[in-house]
Amino acid sequence: MTLWFLHGMLEFLALAGGMALLSLWIGGWSWVPDWLAARPWLLPLVTTVLVLPTVIAEPLIRFRVHRWELSGDVVYARSGWLSREWVFVPVGRIQTVDKAQGWLERLLRLATVEIRTASYAGSSTIKCLDYRVAAELAEELSRRAQELRDDAT
């Protein structure tokens, strides 16, 4: 969850920064309405007011929504915040299991498990697992997939 928060924060900072830069130039442009050109600091302010609530809300909602479960040789994962997605993948149809760590994730000792099948619609990613849990899951999945493997298509 912290990761999403950081992610959101970074994106937000980039956006606000961009707006601030924009506000520096804006005075010179002719097509900008006068009332805005007179108060260029409005732009970053409005952006902040609009975006900040989502930045705070998104990780909280995501933390509530994101779930995964491995039971009875079916992987089940739920993700999303505004739109939600449930994915059911039977272990026997898994083709590859990836475990990946971005630099932020490494900082926080988290990892992402990517499960791929022959179809894009049956593939899923489980993000931001505790590194140890992710390693165990990936290990377990690839072992079970090996055992159960049929044609996988």
């Binding site: 079916v74 997605e85 619609a121 049956g122 899923s124």
Partner: protein, 483 residues
Amino acid sequence: MTAGQALPARSRLSAKVLFIDPIRMAPSLLLPLAGVLVAGGFSPRSFGFAALGVAGSVVFAVLRWATFTYAVVGDRLELTRALVSRSVRTIPLERIRGVDVSTPALHRLLGLAVLKLDTGAGGDKQEGELNGVTVAEAERLRAVLLARRAAPSEPEPVEAAPVVRERYLIRVPRAWLRYGPLSGAYLLTPFALVAGAIGLLFQWGEEFGLTGRDAWALAEWLWERPQLLAAVLVVLVVLMPLAGGVMYAVFNWNFTLRTRDGYLVAERGLVNRRAVSLERRRIRGYELAESPPERAFGLVRMWAVVTGLGDSQTRGQLLPVAPKAEALKVAAEAVGPFDAPLRPHPPVARRRRLFRAVAPWLAVAAVALVMGWGVLAVVALALAAVGVPLGLDRYRSLGHAYDGARLSVRSGSLRRTQATVERRAVVGWTIRETWFQRRAGVVTVIAGVGAGSGGYSALDVGARQGVEFAAEVTPEWVAPFME
């Protein structure tokens, strides 16, 4: 199986391919040759260079032919190319999923064929191609390759002419060719031809000293004579159905579909006769597509959903445009019967379809009105009006069904597609719910299939209904998670 047990150790392509190669290379040679001749001022010396170029290409073709060999070694097919660098491509026979034999016009004159091997590797580079074997050899190779594939453990020597159990599923009557123009395929042919001609003109124009300024002048000259432009356009439009029909007939002449040793063989074409073999074991289902005019006449297009087959819409084609009843009969025989009625989706879905079809145009119209662009507003309003029947029809098209072995989903209006795939082809489920869908209480259920387009979705099913659909098809996967 030992090496070279059945086939001569190494075979070459038919020598007759030598007649074809230079002709095929001619267009790419023509320009440099013309360039040399023009630059050299038609002196004997430049003719000498040109002759050298031609001779060089012929020698190159001969060398290429002489150094390319193929052989079935054990359970592999080896393609060896040893012109400058030596490369051996080995294709395990068990990887060959289908064989595609086609005979372009030139090949046909000489009794040759192009054999393409479909290995499911994806990407053209990885697939084997034997360009220019005799038709008899192509047939033999196909029988050998596919027979071994079908029964890898059988000890009997392959040379003992494999028993071919062949049965025609359908021979498409000529009369069906008249449905061609309705399909909308090839309707743009005249335009494509004109565009191609213009493109060529530009390319060659440089060689002949035409510059962009001349082109501009020509365009301006045309622009000042709108009647001429309009006439050309009218001619092209009139030509559309005609050319479309002709092209369609040329491509789909004498379409036949037959079964043969665990394969489906679809053969078609007037000039370029093409035979595609699909392994039945890999066929997972079929898709039907209809456009509104086709629906009016009760016609459909149909293709197979095959694992590991790229470009399944053309290569997996099971029938040309055909009456729906016949198509379903063929599908039942070739792939498997399916006759469960489609279940409708909840009424909320109709509201959503309508909203989607109408709202964007209304928004455009509103903006246009505010900004005072009258024409745009009228056009947008008209499109919004058209959106009403479109949205209703989209809703009517929605449906899903499961009959115990196959599931089927249908959607779309201008191009209504119904996909029917086997239960065992499903490799996973994705249930998606956007924020708006959640408010409306519907979800999109996507069945992941390792074939065809990868996933087939049932749009806007009721939340409960959708989960139940997935649970019905694969109870052991979904049921444990049903809350």
